[in-house]
Every structure is written in C-alpha cells, then in structure tokens.
Symmetry: C2
Subunit: 323 residues, 2 copies
C-alpha cells in the first residue's frame, strides 16, 4: 500500500476523538460527523487532546463523505450498534481506503464488508478518555490498540504494520498482530462478563469482581462465566492471547490508578444508567451465538445476555409515556 | 390439640394483617408488633379489611408477648430475613402454641425451631393485598394458603386440618397437605426465577417471561432456569405439585385480573426498587444450596443468585454518604 496521507474517523466520540486528534499531528485528519454543528466546530476549532497527551490538531470535518476528499485510512469508532449506519454512509466512497473497526465484541467487520470491498483491519483498543466537548477530549488510560488483518477480507499484515507505525508516530500505543483473534477473544470474554455483570448489578468494576471467598461472592460468578467463555473459545479453535480472569484480577487490583476508591464504570453500565441501548448483542450475545454454532452449552453467558436484553425492554415497558 | 381460641400474628404487614383481620372474626386475634404506635393504633381501631373481604376486627396488640396472654396459634408473617428476630422474641413464650411460618423460600422453619419446641406448620400463601395503613389492608388476590406439618418437628396432619378449618371459617382460602414439600418446591422454583429475573431486569411479571420466539426472548431464560430448578427438586427426591413453568404461563396470561396492561411486581422487584435487602438467600439461594448438597450443577440459578447479591452490595458501594 502507498503511504497513508489522509485519515477519516467516523464516530468522533471519546475513542474516535483520541484517534483523530493524534493522527492530526502527523497526517491530514478528517472526521465524518452526524451533526452539522459537530463538523462546524471541528472545522473552526480543531481538536484539543489533554491528559496523557497535550496537543492540538486541525481537523477537516463534514457530515458528507464527498466533502472529505481522498482517504487512505478510515477508522470506524462508533459503538457497535451504529456500525451498520456508518458503513452505509461510506458505501461508494473512499475506494482507495482501508477500513479499521474499533468496536467491542465480535462481528462488526462482517457488517462493514457488506457495504464495500475495502481491506478491513480488526482492532481492539484498551485506551480510554473523557470527552469534555466536541472539540476537546482528555486522554486517560494510554494503553494500546491491537490490530490485525480481518480474516474475512483482503487486508494483509504489512498494511497493519504500516498503521501501527502511523499510530505510534502520532503518539498512541499500537501493536500489530498477524492474527488478532486470540487477543480479540480474550477481550471479548473479559468484556462479556465484566460489562453485563456491572450493568445488572449497578456495580462498577470493583474488587468484588475478583473475590471468591464467601458463598455469595461475585467473583464466583465472574470466574465461572469467564471459564465458560474460555470453553467456547476453545470449541471455536481459538487459543487465547491473555487469560480473561487474570485481566479481571489485574484490572480490579487498582495498580494503574493508585487510587484505592477508584473503580472503572464499564461502558455497558454507563449505557444502562443512561437507559441507552447497550452493545450486549455484539459482546455477550456474540459468545452465546458462537457457543450455539459450536454446539456447546453456555448457560451463564446466556443468562447474562437475556437479562440485559430484558433490562433494555424494561425502559419501554416502564415508560410512563408509552401510551 | 384443643380448640384454637386465640391467635397471634407476628409481622402485621400485608399478609399478616390479612390473617389477623380475618381471624378476628372467629377467634381472639392478637398481633405482636415492633412499633409501639402500631400496637396502639390496632388496640384502638382494630383492623379493617376491604377488597375481596369487607370486615372489621378487634385486635389485641403489643410489642411484648407477655401482654398477649395464652396463645394457641402463632403465625409468623414477616419477611424471611426477619424470622430469626421474630423467633427470638417468642423464645420462652406461648408454650401451648403451634407456630405457622408463611415465608417465601425454604429454611425458615429450622430457624424458628432453634428458639423453642413448638409444633411447626409450614405454609405458602398465594394471596396478596395492599396495605393502606397500620389498621387497614385491602384483600386483592383471594387465593389459597397451603399448609403442612413441618417434617423436622412434631406437628401432625390433624393440627394442620384444624388450622385449615379455622382459616376457612374466617373467610380465607386454605388447603391442608400431608406433605407440603411438593407444593413448597413448586412455588420455590417459580419464585426463585420470577423474583430474581424481575429484580435484575426491572420488569414486573409481564408476558415476556413466557415468550420464547426470538433469540433474545426472556422466556428462554425463565424456562431454562425453571427447568434447572426442577432438576434440583428431582435430585432432592421431591416430586413437584405443580409445574413452575405452567404457573408462569398462567400468571402472565392475565386471565385473573382481566386487565391487559396489568403485571404483578414481584416482592423482590419492589425490594430492589426501594433498595431494601431482598429474600434472595431464602429463595434462589435455597435452590443453589440444595443443588450443592445434592451434588448437581445449577449454573443459571447460581448466576441469578449472585447477581442479586451483587445488586444489594451496590447500594452500599454507590451510596454517596458512605465515607
């Protein structure tokens, strides 16, 4: 592939803004927005990144892909539920671009592939931030984004290495994998359990998620649910990159922040608190579907999955204005 | 046993008030209260029952069992979590009385037996009401209370039949069983699933609990969880009186109320909405413990159990005044 000169981020939420802001320091960074005001503000003010980075980038933004010119790399950084709508907007545009998906869970690459024959790169990101405004994002956890060629498409490892270099040059952490599935599944199992347990209990990711002493301790459930996820991965022929339970113990040991009282609120918990549709179908639902395909039982993940679906339906049922 | 002349209800919430109010029409009805004001009001105003019954009874009430005189029948109608405290207050009193427990779940009889050698009657009730005041309860669902001699004690079937006659004479529906376990377990499995799924999804007992068409439908979970409960019952040598899944289909078909929009909010959902400790340890927790004793797996009920325990702990964790 030729040099990557121009990028386009679709979905400039927290993660998307972190990508667009950093990339703007090394190449031309564009953003495809939904809101006209969002594009307007980005065009006038650019993007400020504070926190772990301290930078400002000029941004070219529009609600219409036609306005953005030629693009070499598209990063779709919306929530999983919005990937289909994003891909539909990209259809027929950016013929020379590679597209990288950065969603939680499994299955977004297939959705993108239905709208064009771009090379597709799978990725999972562990970075996090706080979005203070359309034009200002704070870079919180400066952890890596992992990328690999999507097995169902025509992207190759060299392209992934090129993007790795670009992201690193822009100040982000990145790692290219020949096969991302082992890492993707490790994060999938971790997310499927931590997100749905948090969403259902209204607990952020606290130490209790790793405690297995008392009979009622939550760690028993988290352990058993992750163990079940690992059996599903094995049945799908995936050898995990990291052990999800160890990721869970590590994440709840609070080494990273140094603050004893800090506990991360997983995105699904934030969604449930805001009564927004969650990514459950892409995360825990993906494990349930893969288990079904592989012909093995996954009763715990199935229970978590259906409870979150039930919780989503309660917002409609309990809405006093429904009639 | 001699004639039952005087009863004492411990825990005059909705169910306790329904018992005390009806019994007062045929025998002397006393109530052991926690609050002095509650006893005071009952002594002055008695108990009014409206709705399916229309009656008024004089009540003798006190916070001290010594004030209530001889008692032939004690009905403990508190929530399961309060049975221990109630039994402790009864210790050393009412030597001639039989004690009937009316809690959800399993295990309250053992707790009572630790505080005295009264004959103990197990019961489960399906009646419901609305408590408008300390001295007024509305009788809503006039369904039966089922009773049987507790297998761990010295109560016999004749005593249970005597109580059945007494309750019927007072205007309540009642049915004596030689062995209550089959009925108790049917209700246990039903309650364990319906209550915890409602508590976790924030859905009342709506039709969705019986729907099994779509992949994400809640009925799949309810069915699988009840099926698991049935396997636990079988492993414990209990043959069920009614099929919990059929009870679920029946209860969500709304035949009883005739109101299409009506859906019952199970008590555990009410507890969770009010951030009160639930009866999870006595209900879903009982199934998990019995499964463990019988050496069989119950992953779905275990998941429901630990999620509700986690939810209870979130009220402490998320309390902004905790420090």
């Amino acid at each position: 592939m030729a040099k990557i000169n121009r990028s386009c981020v679709v979905g400039a939420g927290t993660i998307g803004s972190l990508f667009a802001g950093h990339l703007g320091t090394v190449i031309e960074s564009t953003v495809l927005t939904r809101r006209i005001n969002h594009a307007h503000d980005l065009n006038i003010r650019g993007l400020q990144v504070s926190g772990k980075s301290d930078l400002h980038s000029d941004i070219i933004a529009s609600t219409d892909p036609e306005d953005l010119g030629d693009i070499d790399l598209v990063i779709i950084a919306t929530k999983a539920n919005a990937v289909e709508a994003s891909a539909r907007r990209l259809a027929g545009h950016f013929p020379g671009a590679a597209i990288m998906t950065v969603q939680n869970g499994l299955g977004c690459e297939e959705v993108v592939a239905r709208y064009g024959d771009w090379p597709i790169i799978s990725s999972v990101t562990f970075m996090s931030g706080i979005r203070h405004a359309d034009t200002h994002v704070e870079y919180e956890l400066d952890t890596a984004t992992w990328m690999g060629p999507w097995a169902g498409g025509k992207a190759d490892y060299e392209l992934v290495q090129q993007i790795e270099k670009l992201l690193k040059a822009s100040g982000l952490k990145a790692k290219a994998f020949k096969d991302l599935l082992p890492a993707q599944w490790s994060k999938l199992i971790f997310n499927a359990v931590v997100n749905s347990v948090a969403a259902l209990t209204d607990l952020p990711h606290v130490k209790a998620f790793a405690q297995r002493e008392g009979f009622g301790d939550l760690g028993h459930l988290v352990y058993a649910a992750m163990d079940e996820g690992k059996r599903v991965a094995a049945a799908c022929g995936v050898e995990l990159f990291e052990d999800p339970w160890e990721m869970n113990v590590e994440a709840t040991s609070h080494g990273q922040s140094g603050d004893e009282d800090y506990a991360h609120a997983p995105s699904m918990l934030e969604d449930v608190r805001a009564k927004r549709l969650t990514e459950i179908d892409w995360i825990t639902g993906a494990i349930v579907r893969e288990a079904e395909k592989a012909g093995i039982a996954a009763p715990i993940n199935e229970t978590l999955y259906r409870l979150v679906k039930g919780k989503e339906s309660s917002w409609v049922f309990n809405n006093p204005y429904k009639n």
